[in-house]
Structures are given as structure tokens and as C-alpha cells.
Amino acid sequence: MSASSKLLGGLVTVSILASPAVAGQIEPRLVPLTDARTARLEQWLKAVFHHRPGEADAAANMVASWSSPDMRALDHDEFALVQLMRHGDSVGPQFEFPNPPGKPILERYPPDRYRRIEVLACAAGGYVPGGAWRAGEKLPLLCEHVEAAVALDTELKQLAAAVYAGRMKGDHDDYILRRGALLQADVALLPSRPGTPLPVTAAPSLGAAVSLSISDGEGVMHNATAAIHLAFARSLLDQIVPPTEDGVDPKRDAMVRQWYVTTAAWMQQTQQYMTNHLAKARVMFPNDPHILFLSGCERETYATPAMQSAVRSASLPTGVDFEVGSDQSELRAAEGFFRDALVVKKDFPETRLHLGHVLLLRGRAADAVIELQQATTMFTDDQQLYYAELFAGAAFEATGQFDQARMAYARAAELVPAAQSPRLALSALDRKRGDRAAALSALRDVFALPVVDPSGDDPWWLYAMTQARNADALLADLRRPFLEQTP
């Protein structure tokens, strides 16, 4: 278990982000395209080019410093840029920007600064004459007039060359979209500055996001920008043209799927929860067992007492809803996701484990026993087996099968000798059966346990993150191809 998954001194930070939708419009709005705004688009393109995935480098830190309004403007400008990149003169200067779940937003770019967007689109599409451009290849009409030597600096020329090289390898013009998504995920999720606590009466502006930090089950609200960066990342990937396709179809793209699974796991590893992130993943990949599994784990966590009490105790600004239901409704949702995952992938013992736990919490101990017993036959990982035995013990106890319960708890205790939970369970079981001497003896075993890792000796304390214990490996796999190409 990596250090990042350990409980940090008892203070668990959980981000649950809710973003009120922006209302759509009918008449096109004139885009206030300032020099600063076009400069930001250019800076972002350069950040995408320079950013080393996985590092809080200068590029990531610069993007992280931009405000929510900056990011919303960038989202629109990037969309216009990609449209120009792909369709040249046939689009613009008026664009219809997607605005789910509301109506699209119509915006018109003023002509005086629109030219710069066109120039940047040519760089982002790799349509720059000179350099690595293949001799005799025809440029889009829009870019024929771009004088690279004058219009683009060295970095933008290098970006254009990298995009072109990617296209030659079969990745269409997705360079800035894929690498942009990696950059934005790093900005959102890499350890960063703590948010500023929100005053109780504050209401977020449209499209803003809030997060909930949890300490000892109490919730404290913060302003948060992680949601906006991830939303921008998702919108970048929405524009992907898969290598084997001719049109935009991110659902068929392996890297997009990998990105969603990896970022969802990463978020659960670091206990940052954003319901709409996995909701979007499910829309994109409805039959992916790992996305379904992580969706179930998210809801299972929402049902925990700590999460429930934090959401109840937080003072929510007007119009903000964390979309966390009651513990029973969340457990119902979790069960649904786990069962859907098992339909797609029957040999998924970890899903059975979590399903068994959820059934136990829903008061269906007999059903839980079935799932957990099946899971114990499939695990080779001692930690997962520990959970299965511990939960099976509780399920047996709930169904009155005390001897089986005792054996399951004892097996769990043997698997993890430093864990207190199975020994507490044995003590409580003895006490319930009237054997106070045995109960006290088992409790003394708890007191005598060695302290090897104060925050990790008992895997039960880390159960909420165990499904994401491979997040580091997933991140490495996702980033590797892009690291090889990073200048």
C-alpha cells in the first residue's frame, strides 16, 4: 500500500464536488477576447507541450494558478481552436459550445483577436509550413497564410512538429487533447494547496465547485478548482478521434477508457470523490467492469457513517447538492453497480467481496455469506482474503452461525497478526455468548498487539481505499507512452 493511501494523522480529506449548471442562451454572446485570454490559450498549449505527466512542474503549477473563470474561458477557446484545427475556414467566428445539461452556448469571437486563435489552431493541428512538414503535402487553406517564422515562436513550432509527428504515427490530431487531459488531471489531483474554508453563507458563482473536507466525521466546506480542471479534461477527451476511426468517437478509444479508469482509481486512492466523474465514465463505457466496480466502491463509501455525517453536518450554499443520498440508498446503488460488474466479468473476486460487504450492511447476511464464501475461494492476496474472512465472520454472526463466525474471525486474525478488528470481533462474540472471561482474554490480545504501522496495521482502517491500491501502477501505465515523447 503506497504512502499516499495511508490515513494522514486522522484527518481525511474528501472532496465531493457539485457544480451548478450554467444556463444556456439563445442569442450569441460576443466573446470578451482580451489579450490576456488569447495569451492564456497560448500558454496552455505550451504547458501541454512541456508538461511531464505526473509531475507538479512549472507547466502544471501555472495552470493550477488560473481561476475558475479563467478555466471556463479556456474551455471555450480550446473548443473553438479544435474546431478550427479540424474544419479550418468552414467554421467560426461563431461557435456553439456544449453546455450539458443545459442548452449550448452561442458565442461569437471579435475579428480583431480571432486571427490569433486561427494561428494557434494551426500550431495545435501541426499545420505549419517548414520544419518537419512533408514536402508536397497540402496545408489547410486557413494555415496557408500563417507565416510561421513571424506568427509562431520556437515553442509553438516545436509543438506543431510534435503534433505532426503524432499524426504520422496514426494518432490523428489528438496530441493536445490527450496530453491536455493528462495535464489537467495532474493539476486537479496532484497534492496541492489546501482550499480556503467557505463562509457558511457564501453561495458559489455559477459553474463554481465546492469541496467537503472531513475531519472526525464533520464537514468543512472549501472552494475547490479540481472539479473544473477535471471537467475540462473530460471535455478534451470528448473530442478524441480514435486511431482506427475517421470521426470523433472517444468511446472507442483505448486511452480514453484507460484515463477514466486510472483517474477514478487515483481519486479513490486519495479519497477525492466527484460523483459526476464516474457518471461520465459510465456514459462513455457502460459495460466496463472496472468502471462499474469503482462506481460501486464510490457509493459504498458514500454510505459510511463518516461520509453521511459529514454531508449532514456541512452547511451547503444555496443551489449546491452533493448528490449523496441516505446510507441505504447509497448501498442500494452500490449493490446495483457491483452486480452489473459481475454480469460483465464473473471472475472478479474483489467485486464479490465488496458486494458481500454491502449486502451485510443492508441486513442481508445470508446473501452476504454466499458472496463472501465465493470470494474467499478466489483470492490469493492475503489482504483481500482478510477482508473476506472478517466480513464473512460478521455475516455468520448475523445469521446466528456463531461457530463459523468464530472460525472466520480467527482466520482473519491469523492472516494479519497485527490487526485489532478480528480480535475485537472475537471478544465481542464471546461476550455476546456470555463468556466474559474469554471476551476479556481476547481483548487483552488486542492490547498486546504490536504497533508496526500506526495507521496501517489493521487493513480494515484502509478498506475505503483498497480498491485503488493499484492506482500508482495504473498511472505509470497511462503516462508511460507520453513520457517517452516529452521534450
Binding site: L7, G9, G10, L11, V12, S215, D216, G217, E218, P305, A306, S309, R312, S313, S315, L390, Q420, S421, L424, A425, S427, A428, R431, K432, R433, G434, R436, A439, L440, L443, V446, F447, V451, P454, S455, D457, D458, W460, W461
Partner: protein, 292 residues
């Protein structure tokens, strides 16, 4: 300012210390108590306008066990040594002034004990620890309090269970004082199971929590079930006076004993305790479990 939750104001309920765990003595198939070996001990606080009523004897008490009137045979007052178990939250949020107030409160409680009393210390973060087993050695308790530190999350429910079990480990009257400044975030045992365990134990539980938007339902259920009391405090600066107040109130309780007659031995027994011929607030457990 202290907000005190008086869980049983003007409601008759019963607090029970079940002194005999000899269910095996009951003949198979019968489930009646045998008067020779079975006795039930009830821990009772009687008050008039908030002031403890002193000088009561067996004839002053009326007990109904499952609705059947019982003969009170013995009433003890301040004669049975106390086993005071402190169950203290040592999660990461208990630090600085709060930690020092807590230690100070513990030390004050230890200083307030009689020579025949014992004290023990359980601390809980995510890990449950035995700070000190039950001991009459005040210096041992002070040492344990001075070396308890806050780190990690909160296994309040697990910690309370350990305190209850420790309280049952000795024949004295068990008083468990639980302090927590947050909600449970890492226990394995469930709130329901530990409240059930409390109903089966002899201990009276007093709880002290720090006020928050979230109501401390577990602590309320626990103190209700054992006829203790729950304090919700805004600040922890006056914990010492609260702990000493708990000790003083507990010393003013009676231990009322009777041998059950006319009731089955096993299962849950509802209890009602009243004072004969006078109006008073009587605080005691709502019932007890007999047998397994």
C-alpha cells in the same frame, strides 16, 4: 456553556448491575431464577429537583421486573468500591489545549477517588489501547494520562466496547466516562452491537462530547441504555469540573439488590424503579439481559 442532556427526566427507568452471571445454574428447560444464587443489582440515582435524595433504605424502593413487583433486599450507598474507567479519544484532533484539558480532567478524577476505588484508562484513535489496567495506584494512572497522545482517526465504538469489558473485569461498581470530540470513523464493531453489550454489562456510562452539527446518537443511546448521562460541551476548558461532577453524582447512586421472583430467567427484562410514597426523578437502566 454546558448543555446537559438529562435522558430520563421525570421518567422511571432502571439501571441494572447484573451481579450474577450464572445462567448455567438454571435447570435446563425451566428458565426461572433460583433464589439461592441469583440476585440482581440495580444502580439507581434518586433526585428531587436535581438534588440527590439521601438516606433511603430497602423499604423506600419499588421495583418491577417485567411488570412483576419484586422484594428489595439490600440497598447500598457509597459502600461498594468504584471501578472508574476513562475511555478517552486520542485522535489527531485532540491536541494542544484540548489534550491538556483532557489530561487535567483525568488527573482531577484520579485525585477524587477513594482509597478503595480503582481506575483504568482506555485510549482510542483508530487503535484501541490499554493506557492502564484497573489499579488503585494513582501514580500509575497519572503516568498513563501524561503519556497519552493524539494521532489518527477515531474508533469511538471499539474504544467504548473495550472500556465496558474492562469495567466488567472486576467485581466493583463500574463507572465508564467516555470523552470524544468527534464521530466514529474507523471502528469495526457496530454502534448497535456495543449498545447491546452495554445493556448486558454492569457499567454505567457517562459521555462527554464536543458540540457539533451532527448529533452524537451512539453516545446518547449508550448513556440511555445504562442510565448514565450525556454532556455536550462547547469548549473543553472545564472538562475537569465535568469529570468531578460525574464522579460526585455517581457516588450519590444507590445499589439496590433483589432476587427475582416470578419471572423467567432468560432474555431481556424491563425494569421500573420508583420511590414509594414520594415524587422523585429516578434514573436507572431500562432493563437487563439474563442468560445468553
Amino acid at each position: 456553556m454546558i448543555r446537559r442532556f438529562c435522558l430520563h427526566a421525570c421518567v422511571v427507568s432502571t439501571s441494572l448491575a447484573l451481579a450474577v452471571c450464572t445462567a448455567a445454574a438454571a435447570p435446563s428447560g425451566s428458565s426461572q431464577f433460583t433464589s439461592k444464587v441469583d440476585a440482581v443489582r440495580v444502580d439507581v440515582l434518586a433526585a428531587d429537583n436535581g438534588r440527590p435524595i439521601l438516606g433511603l433504605g430497602p423499604g423506600d424502593f419499588e421495583i418491577l421486573d417485567n411488570g412483576i413487583p419484586q422484594q428489595v433486599e439490600l440497598v447500598s450507598f457509597d459502600q461498594i468500591p468504584l471501578n472508574v474507567i476513562l475511555a478517552l479519544d486520542m485522535s489527531a484532533s485532540v491536541s494542544g489545549d484540548r489534550l491538556e484539558s483532557l489530561r487535567n480532567a483525568g488527573r482531577g478524577l484520579v485525585d477524587g477517588l477513594a482509597k478503595s476505588d480503582q481506575a483504568g484508562l482506555i485510549t482510542f484513535s483508530q487503535r484501541v489501547r490499554l493506557g492502564s489496567a484497573l489499579t488503585g495506584d494513582a501514580s500509575q494512572m497519572r503516568y498513563a494520562l501524561d503519556h497519552a497522545t493524539g494521532t489518527g482517526s477515531t474508533s469511538l465504538i471499539d474504544g467504548v466496547y473495550a472500556a465496558l469489558a474492562l469495567g466488567d473485569s472486576d467485581a466493583g461498581r463500574a463507572l465508564v466516562i467516555v470523552f470524544s470530540d468527534g464521530l466514529d470513523t474507523s471502528s469495526w464493531l457496530t454502534a448497535q452491537s456495543v449498545v447491546e453489550a452495554a445493556k448486558r454489562s454492569d457499567a454505567v456510562v457517562y459521555g462527554v462530547t464536543v458540540q457539533s452539527r451532527e448529533k452524537p446518537e451512539f453516545m446518547r443511546d449508550l448513556t440511555n441504555a445504562t442510565a448514565g448521562r450525556l454532556y455536550e460541551v462547547e469548549k473543553t476548558a472545564n472538562l475537569r469540573s465535568i469529570f468531578l461532577g460525574i464522579l460526585e453524582e455517581f457516588r450519590h447512586r444507590y445499589v439496590v439488590s433483589y432476587a427475582p421472583r416470578g419471572v423467567t430467567a432468560d432474555g431481556w427484562h424491563t425494569l421500573q424503579v420508583r420511590l414509594k410514597g414520594r415524587k422523585a426523578t429516578v434514573k436507572a437502566r431500562p432493563g437487563y439481559f439474563a442468560g445468553n
